[in-house]
């Protein structure tokens, strides 16, 4: 393989093995640090800043973020290659937003592909088209969020408008091997049938897109906000009920898509 890739460095904050909900099969998730969006519900607030931070959880303070080489990450990823092969799994780059570290991410994905590992990213789609074009040849699957069709509301909850994201979705749909649209379902933001329906309609209009995943809001990130000395503005929000999620799933399905709750 191209060994020059191995020394490329990037910044990550976690590697999680035996993940079964972010792409096909058993996967290893690599969480890259830094994100251009600030979604209010984000369950990984420690992922947002590119800077290495201190976070206090359960009385213990730990350092979030470390600089690693592709070689180091590849070694971790390859530990589970038997399980990828048996399950159709592989690596998924998550974040943060992996599009913010293209040199590292593309080198890592290339190294994985050269080792026979299936590759995926989980992304906001917020980057320049040129950056995205660099990723597509080394990706087997893209899991991309469409959070809201109303740009103003999108900006209000994520700090960014959605125009670039929607354009990129079309670009990825046209050129990627596989694109799955994912929607975090957040009460007070996008959990009405109309809002989910609008997203599903958009997804169905994209070429080659056949699948949409609805991810119900959960509060597991709440303690981390406190741990980072930040305020959690969503504490009054309760997760959507199973019945409501099923309603939304049916709505999404009515656009001719395969719709799943969870990944």
């Amino acid at each position: 393989m191209n060994t020059s890739l191995l020394s490329v460095t990037g910044r990550i904050f976690d590697i999680q093995r035996f993940s079964t909900h972010d792409g096909s099969g058993i996967r290893t998730l690599v969480f890259l640090k830094g994100c251009p969006l600030r979604c209010r519900w984000c369950c990984n607030p420690e992922s947002q800043s590119y800077e290495i931070q201190q976070m206090t959880l359960g009385g213990n303070t730990k350092t979030v973020g470390r600089d690693v080489t592709v070689e180091e990450v590849l070694k971790e990823v390859l530990r589970d290659r038997m399980y990828y092969r048996r399950s159709g799994g592989g690596i998924t780059l998550s974040g943060g937003e992996s599009l913010t570290q293209p040199d590292f991410a593309v080198a890592l994905l290339t190294a994985c592909q050269e080792n026979g590992v299936h590759t995926a990213i989980e992304t906001t789609g917020f980057a320049t088209p040129e950056t995205i074009e660099r990723y597509l040849p080394v990706l087997d699957c893209v899991l991309m969020d469409i959070k809201h069709m109303d740009s103003e509301k999108h900006q209000q909850f994520t700090t960014r408008p959605n125009d670039r994201i929607l354009q990129n979705a079309r670009l990825i749909a046209e050129k990627a091997k596989r694109l799955i649209i994912r929607v975090p379902v957040i009460p007070t933001f996008n959990d009405t049938e109309e809002e989910i329906g609008a997203i599903a309609a958009f997804a169905a209009s994209l070429p080659n897109v056949r699948e949409i995943h609805l991810l119900p809001y959960h509060r597991m990130g709440q303690d981390k906000y406190t741990g980072l000395g930040r305020e959690y503005t969503m504490s009054h929000i309760t997760p959507p009920s199973a019945e409501h999620m099923e309603l939304l799933r049916k709505k999404a399905e009515s656009y001719g898509l395969k719709a799943l709750i969870g990944g």
Binding site: F18, T20, D80, Y83, S87
Partner: protein, 842 residues
Amino acid sequence: MSTFYTQDIQKSPRIPKLVEHLFEKMPEIEPYRAVLLTESYQQTEGEPIILRRAKAFAHILAHIPITIRPLELIVGSSSKNPRGAQLFPEYSYEWVEAEFDTLATRSADPFYISEETKNALRKVFPYWKGRTTSELATSYMVPETIAAIDHNIFTPGNYFYNGVGHVTVDYGKVLKIGYRGIAEEARAALAKLRVTDADYAKRHHFLNAVLITCDAVEMYANRYAELARKQAAACADDVRKAELLKIAENCSRVPAHGATSFYEACQSFWFVQMLIQVESSGHSISPGRFDQYMYPYFKADLDKGVITREQAQEYVDCVWVKLNDLGKVRDLASAEGFAGYSMFQNLCAGGQDKDGKDATNDMSYMCINATLHVLLPQPSFSVRVWNGTPHEFMIRAAEITHTGIGLPAYYNDEVIVPALQSRGLTLQDARDYNIIGCVEPQKSGKTDGWHDAAFFNMCRPLELTFSNGTDKGIQVGPQTGDVTSMKSFDEFYGAYKKQMEYFIELMVNADNAIDQAHMERCPLPFLSSMLEDCIGRGKSAQEGGCVYNFTGPQGFGIANVADALTAVRELVFNEKYLTLAEFRQALENNYGKDMDPKQAEKLTKQVVKSMVDSGRMLTPDDIKAVYLTVAQNPCSDEQKARYQQLLDRISALPKFGNDDREIDNFARDVAYTYTRPVERYRNPRGGTYQAGLYPVSANVPLGAQTGATPDGRLAFTPVADGVSPAAGRDVNGPTAAANSVARLDHYIASNGTLFNMKFHPSALAGRSGLESFVALVRGYFDQKGSHVQFNVVSRETLRDAQKHPENYRSLVVRVAGYSALFTTLSRSLQDDIINRTEQGGF
């Protein structure tokens, strides 16, 4: 697209009723077998032992009460009451009398026993003084061996107190030719004998003994036929009447003759299975490859159109229920080691045939259906997996796993077949293996495997390494050097290896002594008649009549020892954080921690008892003071703080089970300190030793006899089970734990390895959950792991079951190589199961 009939088949409403009847009452001890056995022995004094055994078996079968339980289709019960237990005083009896008054109230496997039964037993027990296998075995052991057993380094208690069992006979042969056919073979062998043969007497008696047992079984089945006819005559319900008449017809034919239908085959199978457990108390009588030997009868009936899949499934389900109708009472210590009324009747489906082709068939799926229909601990259901195992078969097996009953266990042909070949099995025989008891592979119908021959606690020799071979002031091990003068880790590790080798020698001495005792006092002609080549060789399995003979004692605690030796190497020799003398003191002081309350209570009781026995009067305050002295750690706060620092340092070191190549490879080497010496030795039946690495549930009671260890494990707490990481120390998820375990050498542990994983049910939810689960098993097996099993229950569920056992009577959990009803387990074993790492689905 699968070509098998893979979907579930409707469960008959009869099945839940049979199950309900089975579990209505606490199981009871019955006196009949012990009384009849003694009567027969008294009449046969002075005759050859093999004939005495056959005549006693025949006498028991002629007179033991028989019963047909309500709604049964498959009949034959070794006890009048469901799940009852007979006794086997020819092996041991002293403990029964000693425990008469506590049997019904003990925490592990209680049994009801009536005053009438106690009296009947009191009359016959004195006959057995000096006549049991256990007494003879003890006389064959050297004193050092007895000392090692007394000091809990290992325990051969299983075969010391009981029959050996752990066998799969040639069921297919009985189904095909019946006991009349077997008797024919014995007669033919007799006809070939010449009175001038050197071993004429021995062969002659053995073959005659076989003939006696064949007749006895036919007569016994006829008793059932008669009873069924009688009940039919008195039965007002036409449907049940017809069923009873059919039962009578079946029992008139099988097992004396070959089965002519699937229903007869099921009935014949059951008589074989049950009667082996009347001849001897040995457990782990394993049905083996039921899907292989039953399939032809099912297929023939299906093709002829005389049976529906639903009918056939009902018969199979009835067999599954009956497998739970057998009880065995054990002494208190063994009951804790084998907790859960377990009989370890291991039944296997799937895998390869003897020519290496996939053997999965419709009956394999029906075995899965039966397990799902019945949801009981028996049979211990095992699934054989090889690279060609159908995916759908794995998915359906995973559906059982998802129910949380701890079944099935998964076995890897790709490891077990070559492992067995390395022990001398032919390739064809190795491919046709099945599982015995917990996890032990053997070739059915040809093997006396003596699997489960002893529990060897690998942590105890480590304690003795620190004490230069002394325990409680007595020199029980070799003097391997004062640790304070040891200069290198290699020197320390070398001392540990010497302790291991010494105690392994004594364990071999113990096992061979017991083996010899069984050979002389309890040869089993009925069992031997179904094992090749006993008839040909003219001797019982216990005398070496089988083609393959093994002794398989199992070690456990690898994870603790690997972690502990790593702590010694790093903290003492590399970092020089403390000296071995300081480490020894920390262990003696249990790291400054108070004793586990349950253990303290137990010790307090002992101390109080000895004080009362010596004439002291004690007030409740005195007893409280004793408890506090026992329970509270006397270390100063300063010492405690220093020990806490030590524990923190230990905790920060790498641990087995986290996919750390270095420590995993070291653990592999540690396992060799047990597996390699074991394989050097031979047994009296002409076979070899082979090690296993699994604990049944003995890691809990034997852990309670083990002081603190350098891996930070506190005194008297459980040690790691089998090849699993120590509880709670594997923190990198299931794939990491599996990778670590796969780095051990599973081939050399050809008597079986046991890897426990615990899953929350959410990890297996939906088709995608099952797919990931199957991939996990496959991925582990790709790396040459041999066995894996799963507990799929939430911690909250188990905690609630402890609080409200009445709501969880049917909650089945995986204990070790078997499943048991959670609420029947002792509290400490329940706690251990709860504390095993729970791997969540992310």
